[in-house]
Amino acid sequence: MLAEAKSLEQQIRDFYEEYTICLDDADYDRWSSYFTDDAEYKIISRENFDRGLPMASMSCEGIGMIKDRVTALVKVLVYEPRYWRRYVSSVRVKACDGNVIKSGANFLLYESMLDREPQLNMLGQYHDTLVRDGDSFRIKERFAVYDNHRILTTLFAPV
């Protein structure tokens, strides 16, 4: 079955789901490969995003900072171990101009600690710019905009 047989919407949906699977599987090295070298990556509150305030809870300028987040998560930081699980829905292609695609999706992030009940950690929507890369895509810009008024304790999980 050839990828060409798929509509752009399907390809984009597959891309979002693969990305999600990659993170759920904690395959963080591969995760960084989803980004272009000059990627901008932010996890930002809906409050700041809607008001045009630039501060994000996590801000990466370029692939180096994204990889440094992986290093911190895997090797450096002290945090409670847990399982993260992501649900992506309503994947949408907003615009497509040559190799550049504006897209988005809704996301849900759950976390399951090792001594208590799972909880909804974060929910919101992606506002992305993708670029084609062969059969697949890379993320040139991602704003993961979370609806929750407050981060639940801390933010370690990439989305």
Binding site: S57, T153, L155
Partner: protein
């Protein structure tokens, strides 16, 4: 029955351990009675509480919501440009006046959604529908005095673009309240107009004093946080000062940044197991200084008790707003800002360095993570924390490796709380 419930049932006597400030009883982190007393003594008492930045109120009619512990208040700017702080609570039946974070009141009036009692920006009751009746109904009684039914108003002051409010008439002036740390305040809030960069809010399932303690605890900073000694942001063998002021109420931290420090090794660094970890950063802009804005190559944190820690780490400026919600929950709200005349590169640097702090900060995320996991143990155990690093005194310490700021704070705390 959690410890807190046992306390309520008088199983545990609220008596400070005899050792004094070298011991902290776990019940101060769990008792709702203590929590309520703290709010009365500190937040609703003779303290100035952080309620916002002047730049959040750009024009007449502008308002923003703020929190003083569990209470929400509204900060407004009136048509004369004056700033007021009033409770978000109607004098009629306790309705909230607004559910929004910020906005603009139409016609400069605060109108209650329930029965439309209408207040001026300073909280005074101006009018209400059918005040003098309608269609045969007499309206409000003749002896109803609008002056007695305004929104509760707090005293408000602004210094350096930051707004502070207090419930008490006899709270000393903000300057006297801050005391000898004022120059550190003025270093950051020096008259340059401020520019709001955004909020990061965290809801944290532990007592708010664990957060306060953690900012007073230079000792953990080299041991829990790899990033701090690894990249020489500060280090036990560096130039680091923790200075209790105002009898231990507020505490100033300042440390010189020396970019060479990270490369030296000595008997001090031998004690730091976190330095053993083998990793490197791909992009060091996050840990390196962008520019020396104040010409002193210094990073600072100033806890202006009870509501804030004012912080400058490299180019990241923030007011960390501690908002107690219950004995076992607090909000930590990061208010990031810069100066109005910052250029784009400067703003980028502020955002970049803010990756060190906030909810996912390479440093600060570990703080909140570690304190949240203390709560289950203090809930269960009637224990005594042992605060003896650096001796038993409460004086300023010129090293990270000391708990003297914690002892200084609890000396002050016991006196105010009458414990």
């Amino acid at each position: 029955m959690t410890l807190q419930e046992r306390i309520r049932g008088d199983d545990i006597e609220l008596k400070w351990p005899e050792e004094g400030p070298t011991r902290i009883p776990s019940w101060i982190y769990t008792s709702e009675e203590i929590f309520r007393r703290e709010l009365e003594v500190f937040h609703y008492g003779k303290s100035w509480n952080y309620v916002g930045l002047e730049c959040e109120l750009p024009e007449a009619g502008s308002f923003k919501r703020a929190w003083i512990g569990p209470r929400s208040v509204i900060v407004t700017r009136d048509e004369n440009g004056e700033i007021h702080t009033v409770e978000n609570r109607c004098a009629h039946r306790d309705s909230q006046m607004t559910w929004k974070e910020c906005g603009k009141f139409e016609d400069g009036m605060i109108v209650c959604p329930y029965h439309n009692w209408t207040y001026a920006m300073d909280g005074s009751l101006k009018s209400m529908p059918f005040f003098r009746g309608a269609a045969g109904n007499p309206g409000m009684p003749k002896d109803f005095d609008k002056k007695q039914h305004g929104l509760v108003k707090l005293r408000t002051t602004v210094r350096g673009g930051v707004i502070w409010a207090t419930y008490q008439e006899d709270t000393p002036s903000f300057e006297d309240f801050v005391g000898e740390g004022l120059p550190w305040y003025d270093r950051l809030f020096n008259g340059r107009k401020l520019k709001l960069l955004g909020f990061c809010r965290q809801i944290v399932p532990c007592n708010w004093k664990f957060y306060s303690d953690n900012t007073h605890d230079g000792y953990h900073a080299a041991l829990l946080h790899t990033f701090i000694p690894k990249f020489g942001l500060w280090r036990p063998d560096g130039d680091y000062h923790q200075v209790p002021t105002a009898d231990g109420r507020h505490i100033v931290y300042h440390m010189k940044y020396d970019s060479g420090l990270q490369h030296t090794r000595n008997e001090v660094t031998d004690e730091l197991r976190v330095l053993k970890s083998e990793y490197e950063l791909e992009d060091r802009r996050i840990v390196n200084q962008h520019s020396d804005e104040f010409g002193d190559s210094t990073n600072t944190a100033f806890q202006v008790f009870p509501s804030t820690v004012i912080q400058q780490f490299h180019s990241s400026f923030s007011i960390r707003h501690m908002i107690p919600k219950s004995a076992t929950t607090h909000e930590l709200s990061w208010n990031f800002f810069g100066y109005e005349d910052d250029d784009e590169e400067q703003i980028k640097a502020r955002i970049r360095h803010s990756n060190l702090v906030g909810p996912s900060g390479f440093i600060s995320a570990e703080d909140t993570e570690i304190i949240a996991q203390l709560q289950p143990n203090v809930n269960e155990y009637d224990s005594r924390h042992v605060i003896e690093m650096g001796g038993k005194g409460t004086e300023a310490a010129h090293t990270m490796i000391s708990e003297s700021a914690i002892r200084a704070f609890y000396s002050f705390y016991r006196k105010e709380m009458n414990l």
